[in-house]
Structures are given as C-alpha cells and as structure tokens.
C-alpha cells in the first residue's frame, strides 16, 4: 500500500481504513484479540514477513489500537495488548467474519464460531446472541473452533 491515506474523502469509513485498511493490520488485531500477544507467535501464525510485522505493530501502537508492555527485562521482551479502541473493532470483525462465512464458505462449515460467554449461545454477525437475544460487546464473547475446523487442521498438518 503506497500511501495509507485517502485524501479528500469525507467519510468515517475512509478514516477507519486509513488506520486498519493496510494489509495484515486487521488480521493482527484478530490474532491479538484471540490471545496471541508475542512477536514470534504472531509471525508464525500469520506467515507474515518479520519486517512487515514490525512496522505494522509500530503503527498499531502509534494509532492506539495496541499497547506494548514489557513482560520481562534483560533482555527486554514485549507483549501486545488491545486497547479499548482496538477491542472496539470487534463488531467490524464479526461482520466481516459473517460475510466471509456466507459468501466464501468452507466445505465443512465455518472454521470459527463466536459464542456468548455467559449463556453459550451462538453470536450473529451483528453481535447479537441468538439464544438470549442480548446485544454483545467484545468481552462478552469468545471464538471457538467451528465444524469446519478439524478437516482443515488435518490438511494443514499434512502439508507441512
């Protein structure tokens, strides 16, 4: 992505994309939301080039979506945590997840489903629990492997 801004656009969608529209950015946020917090862990999980991951993390920290916290000194090692601003991307992520599930489906069903922590109900792409009907936020839900997950994990193992 040459420049990451969209000059002249008067629209909050364009503003949002200036921050999270770069390649990999949203997937990094997704992974951190799922509990990956360390450089190598993110790099291996995403298959992203290390230099690119480095610049993306820096930018996400600058933009206040991630917070970089040391978890040990000498040698200094860091973990990345989502800020409120980063966590607030949850509705956008599950909307995209829903769209992907509907239109480019995996053969054995979705590899990931979102469930309401409290009641265990499945969460729709609008972030509404289909069992209890509540409107949820990031902290109310959890991602679990879906029906399509096993076959794919197997295929990934075999290709190694």
């Amino acid at each position: 992505m040459l420049r990451h801004d969209y000059p002249g656009q008067i629209c909050s969608i364009a503003k949002a994309l200036e921050v999270i529209g770069e390649r990999w950015s949203l997937l990094i946020v997704r992974d951190v939301m799922g509990g990956r917090r360390r450089f190598d862990d993110l790099q291996k999980g995403l298959g992203i080039a290390r230099n690119v991951l480095s610049t993306r993390l820096q930018r996400l920290v600058e933009e206040d979506l991630l917070e970089r916290r040391p978890y040990q000194e000498s040698p200094p090692r860091y973990e990345y945590f989502l800020t409120e601003k980063g966590l607030d991307l949850w509705p956008s992520l599950i909307a995209l997840l829903g769209w992907g599930d509907r239109h480019t489906p995996y053969p054995d069903g979705p590899p990931m489903v979102i469930v309401h922590k409290e009641c265990g109900g499945q969460v729709s792409d609008r972030g509404i629990c289909e069992r209890c009907g509540n409107l949820l936020h990031a902290r109310d839900a959890r991602a679990l492997p879906g029906p399509g997950a096993e076959a794919l994990a197997l295929a990934a193992q075999q290709s190694e």
Copy 2:
C-alpha cells in the same frame, strides 16, 4: 497490496479480506452503494488512479460483488451495480463507519448518518434502528449527510 491472498489462514475474516481487503475496494463498494455507478464518477469522487480503478472494478465483477451492465451501445458504456453479495457488505461497512465515528471523529460531528427509510430513525453501527428497534438490511436504510457535512463541504470547495 502485494498479493491479495493470505496463504495458510483458516478463517473467514482472511477469506473476506482476500476479496475486499485491497486498497480502494471497500470505498468503491461504498460509493456504488451510495448511487455512483459510472467510471468517471467513481474516479473523480475517489481521486483514485484510472488504471487502478479499472483493475479494481474488474476484480469486483469477477468476484461477483459488482455487475457490469451496458446502458448504451456505440460507444459501449457501462454502469456498475451491486449484486446481493456486494450489498451484503452493508453490515461490515456500517460497523466500520461506527468505529471511525467513535475513534477518529470529525470536529462538527459525523459527516454521514444512516437512517431507516421506513421510520426515519437513526441506525446504529450494528444495523439496528434506534427508533423502532428493527434489525435492518442494506435496502432498509439510506445514508444522509450528517451534522459535520456542511463545514467540510465548504472546506473542500475553498481548497479547489
């Protein structure tokens, strides 16, 4: 964006981003949803390079998000319409719009608000009408200039 795929990612978010994660793609969808249908109109509105717009439109047609329909022959001229798959990006777009509004706000308020056609109520970032409480879809809603629109339109005029 170098390659538009994310190899090895078992996730519908990654699948979705393979299709609409490229720079400009989502803004093109937004503009077509707002009624811009022709090449020059899109090009001027977005300030995108013509060759890039050309390749993006081709890809969006290939991926079945847009449909290219002739509206006259000799010379052949085309308009671009959203398919159901394209229209179904609406929840993702308003989720991003909501995030942008909350976290990178314009000084005079949002430049665009979404309203329920039927009752005129404002639509939340989950696509729920705040007046009648209904869960809405793309066709139920309309984008209108918001409180921050006038000042910005004025500024845009002056910079010309």
